[in-house]
Structure formats: C-alpha cells, structure tokens
C-alpha cells in the first residue's frame, strides 16, 4: 500500500515535469513519425515484401522495440542531473520506498513509450497495417517490459558512474551491438549462420522475434512466450539491481 502510493507519487511528479517540457514532448512524437514516413517507403523493395502492408508488419515491430530500447537506455542522463541538483539525496533522507524511487521513474518512461507506440501503430494503420487487438496488447506488454528493463538499468548505471561523461559512451557501447545483432531494423533471416548464432544470445533478438510474431498474428508461436519470458526475467533483474543502487549510498 505504502509502496504503491510512493510509486504513484514519484510517477506523478516525473510525468508532470516531462509534460512541462514541450521540446521533449515534440521530439518524442516527431521522431518515430519521421521513421515511419521517411524510412518505411524504402522497405518494400528492401525486404522483398509482396505488399507495403507486409513490409510494415516486419518493420513496425522492429521500430517499436528500437524505441523501447533507446527510450530506456538514455533516461539515466536525467537522473544524473537530479543527482547533481541534490534531489536524489533529498529523497533518500525521507522514508519513501527506495524501489518506488526507481519504479516511479521507470514507469513514467514505460508510459511515455507506450504513448509513442500507440501513435506509431495508429499511423501504420493508415498504411494498411492490420493487427488483432489482443496480439497488439501483448506486443505492448513486451515493449513495456523492454523499456522497464532498459530504463532501470540506465538509472542504476547512472547512480554508479554519476557523470554524463561516463554514461554516454557506456550506453552507446551497449546499444550498438545490441542493435546490430537483434535484427531490429531488418530481420536476420538472411544472415550467415555465425551471425545468427551470436544473435541467439541477444535477448533483444528474442524480443523482436516475439513482437514480430505477434504483429503477424501468430499468437501460438513459441517465439511469443519465449520473448515475453526472457524480457520479463531481465526486467525483474534490472529493477532489482537498480533499486539496490537507490538504496545504497550515492553522491
């Protein structure tokens, strides 16, 4: 009860501050729309898809997972600013739950990601993408879990390194191979065997496969539950680890 209340308190505050920043809101909506409008037309020939709609079924889930990963990974920067302003220290002297300090922030990130995802899906509908609502909701769950994990990890790392100068290269180094090896933008179906072998060790690759299966309406596919379980476990681990960083001394 106290925990839920504390989480809600932090979530409210963070959301309020986010909405107050019009630039951020604009970028958050504008960026995915650009991807969809400017990148997607290249897809049908590139993917050898029979129709534009088929190309979207492959591309849109990838784009959404991409947004979930990056939306989360770079949240740590905001936290470093808060750390510097003394806001985190001020929170830590109150009896508020340490897990709530993390989760309130991460949930804000999850919600803003889902809003982006909904905008993109609605736009894609205009381009003849068709998805069952049940499948779509499960896909959103997958995205939420990914964003929860990456944002929690980003906050945890931010509390550890405490400086933007260290966080930026670190997050880029993590993000790049993850991105290249997950088949996010283009599926790895045609990749050589060794590349697929490596991708099997990349949890995001499983997440993308699962999300694509859902967009394809293939709810029964093993990829769905595999992707969901892997991201759920990783999200739980990420949250646990990051909440411990909030509980430990920081400065």
């Amino acid at each position: 009860m106290k925990f839920a209340r504390d989480t809600w308190l932090i979530f409210q505050r963070q959301t309020q501050l986010l909405l107050r920043n019009p630039v951020w809101v604009f970028v958050g909506v504008f960026q995915p729309v650009m991807y969809l409008l400017l990148f997607a037309p290249l897809l049908k020939p590139a993917l050898n898809a029979p129709t534009q709609a088929a190309a979207y079924k492959i591309f849109v889930p990838g784009l959404l997972v991409l947004l979930a990963i990056f939306g989360g990974l770079f949240q740590g920067f905001g936290l470093i600013a808060e750390l510097r302003a003394g806001v985190i220290e001020r929170s830590r002297v109150t009896p508020i739950s340490r897990l709530a300090l993390l989760l309130g922030r991460s949930l804000r990130d999850v919600v803003s990601l889902i809003v982006q995802a909904v905008i993109i899906t609605l736009l894609a509908l205009l381009f003849d993408l068709r998805v069952f609502i049940g499948d779509l909701l499960l896909a959103y769950l997958m995205l939420a879990l990914i964003a929860l994990m990456t944002s929690a990890v980003s906050y945890g790392v931010a509390l550890k390194v405490k400086s933007e100068d260290a966080l930026a290269p670190l997050m880029n180094t993590v993000a790049q191979p993850v991105l290249l090896l997950s088949g996010i933008l283009l599926p790895l179906t045609f990749a050589p065997g060794w590349l697929q072998g490596i991708a099997n060790w990349n949890p995001f690759s499983w997440a993308v496969d699962g999300t694509r299966a859902l967009f394809a309406g293939d709810l029964g596919s093993d990829k769905v539950w595999q992707g969901l379980s892997i991201t759920a476990v990783l999200a739980a681990l990420g949250v646990y680890w990051a909440a411990r960083q909030f509980a430990r001394s920081v400065r």
């Binding site: 109150t94 508020i96 001394s249």
Partner: protein
C-alpha cells in the same frame, strides 16, 4: 537527542592507478541535548558534511554507533529518517519546479496526505516569506530565496531534529541575519537544530553549544563562552612591521605577564595575557625601551578562532 560514540568513516578514492584512503571522520563522540542549536565548526574538509550524512542515514558509518531522537542509527535507519530533517550543503531543489510543488512533494514523501501537505506547504511558504514567489520556478530564485526553500523542505514534516549543512554560506549579511532568526524560531518551536558552519561569528552568536572539528576529529566541545574561558585571559594583538617582529618577540618573550606568544604571519605578535588592561602599558614600555616602533595595538577577548588556534596550532581564518 543525538548521541554518537566513536563514529568513523573513511573513503577510498582512486587517483590514477593508486587508491588512497581518506579518513574523513575518525571517532566522533557527541551529545546534543533536546531543543538546542548545536554548531559544528571547522575548516573545509574537516569532516562536517560526512558526519552529518552519516547521522542522516545517507552513508553507512565504518564504525561506531549513534542514537538519534531515540532511534538507533544502525538498527533502525528507517525510524531515524522519520524523525529527522536534513538540508544538504549543495542544494536540493529542482530548477523546473516551483517552491510550492517541492514542498508538497517533500511532505508527501514522508507519507503526509495531499490536503495536509498543501496546508503545510502554504504555512511554510508564509513562515519563510516565500509566498510571493511560491509559484515561480526554482531556477528564478535568488540564492537566499532558494536557501530558504531548502530549509523549509527540511522541516516540512516537523521533525524532532533538523540538520542544516552550512545554511548561510553564500548569503549576504542581511540574509544571514534573517536566516539566524529563522533558525532561532525553529528552536523556539522545540526543534533541535544541528548546523555546520565555518563562520566563527555565526557559531558564536547563534549556537548554544558547539563542537570544533578538525581533520576528522572533535578537538573541543562546549558553549562558546566555556570554550573561550578555557583560553584563560585576554589576547593582545601587537601590529608590527614584518622585519621588526622577531626582535619584538625576543624582547617580550619571558616577560612575566606574557603566558604565551605567537608571531602572526603577516607581521606582528599575538600575546596571551591574564589581564589585558594591565599588560598593555607594560608591553608598550618594553617595546619602546627596545626601540621598536609599533603600528597598532589591540586588546581582544579570546575568540573561537583563538580556541581553534590553541587546539590545532592553526588559525581557522587561514585554513
């Protein structure tokens, strides 16, 4: 209200490849009574902030124990948090939110309901004369206004004890005087106030009792008057040219009325005497006799700086 025994903390810091250990706090024993303003006086790096952060549950001590408002720091930090307020040295407000929002949020972090939090915020804004700016973003405040918001944050939940880390640093003399009044008001409300400062006059004028800290240790503790009384007698400051100082020191050293003699770096002498009024004529006669010309002579009652000087061999003003 606060009782600490043997509180210790070391930091390991990495400089290149070497790791160095800094003993920031090395065994601090303190007893702070209910309803007093307790001052922690010491130069930069003395370990004041580190001690406060330990008492506020922000960092774990390496050793020692403490009881704060009846709660055990090590066994029950959650309870300690409920009973104290803490205002950090480096600020604690967010640029983009307003004083009122910060106050309401902070009260709610202590589990206070929304309506009550809003009432408390309004009252605090009023008490700290912030109502006029209450709904402006914090980044638009002056340093003094912002500091007042931070202090208001620290006491919004009416803690039994509030820790204020250098509440007046960076304020102009007038704002400082206001801040002193506000801190005295907190004491009037029955709160125990623990402040750190490196201003001698502040410790002297504001604090009921002080501990002087240097290099991680408490070197003296007591009321300002007690501490100054320990330095028995008065201090006579003799202003001399740099070149004349050693000669004057030789002339005055060993005079029966001089208890202790120190040379001042920029020229001149500091004499510890029992009775300034009778010592000064004798000093003048002696220097005249030695053919030395003096620039000035002052008598002053011992200050906390003199206490610091006798305990550590350094002047607080210099360090």
């Amino acid at each position: 209200m606060i009782e600490t025994r043997g509180l210790r903390k070391s930091f390991r810091s990495r400089a290149g490849r070497e790791t160095k250990t800094v003993d920031a706090v090395r065994g601090v024993d303190l007893d702070v009574a209910r309803g007093e303003i307790f001052g922690f006086l010491g130069p930069n790096g003395a370990g004041k902030t580190t001690t406060l952060r330990m008492l506020a549950t922000l960092i774990e001590p390496d050793g020692g124990e403490a009881t704060i408002a009846g709660a055990d720091l090590r066994k029950d930090p959650a309870e300690v948090r409920r009973r104290i307020g803490y205002v950090p040295q480096g600020g604690s407000t967010w640029d983009e939110s307003t004083a009122r929002e910060e106050l309401v949020l902070h009260a709610r972090m202590y589990g206070i309901g929304k309506a009550d939090a809003q009432r408390r915020a309004a009252r605090a804004l009023d008490a700290f004369q912030l109502t006029e700016y209450a709904d402006r973003k914090c980044k638009t405040y002056s340093g003094g206004q912002r500091r007042r918001v931070e202090i208001a944050l620290g006491i919004i939940h009416e803690p039994k004890i509030v820790f204020l880390d250098e509440p007046t640093t960076g304020l102009d003399p007038q704002s400082r005087a206001h801040m002193w009044d506000e801190i005295r008001r907190l004491r009037g409300d029955g709160m125990t106030v623990f402040i750190t400062t490196h201003y001698l006059d502040e410790a002297d004028a504001l604090c009921d009792r002080i501990a002087i800290m240097d290099n991680g240790e408490v070197v003296a503790e007591g009321t300002p008057a007690e501490l100054k009384r320990e330095i028995s007698g008065d201090v006579v400051l003799v202003g001399l040219d740099l070149a004349a100082s050693p000669q004057a020191a030789k002339a005055l050293d060993g005079e029966p009325y001089v208890n202790k003699l120190e040379t001042v770096d920029e020229g001149g002498l500091r004499l510890y005497v029992d009775e300034g009024a009778t010592a000064i004529p004798q000093v003048l006669r002696r220097l005249d006799h030695a053919g030395l010309e003096l620039r000035s002579i002052e008598l002053h009652r011992p200050s906390l700086d003199d206490v610091f000087l006798t305990k550590t061999g350094r002047s607080l003003r210099e360090s």
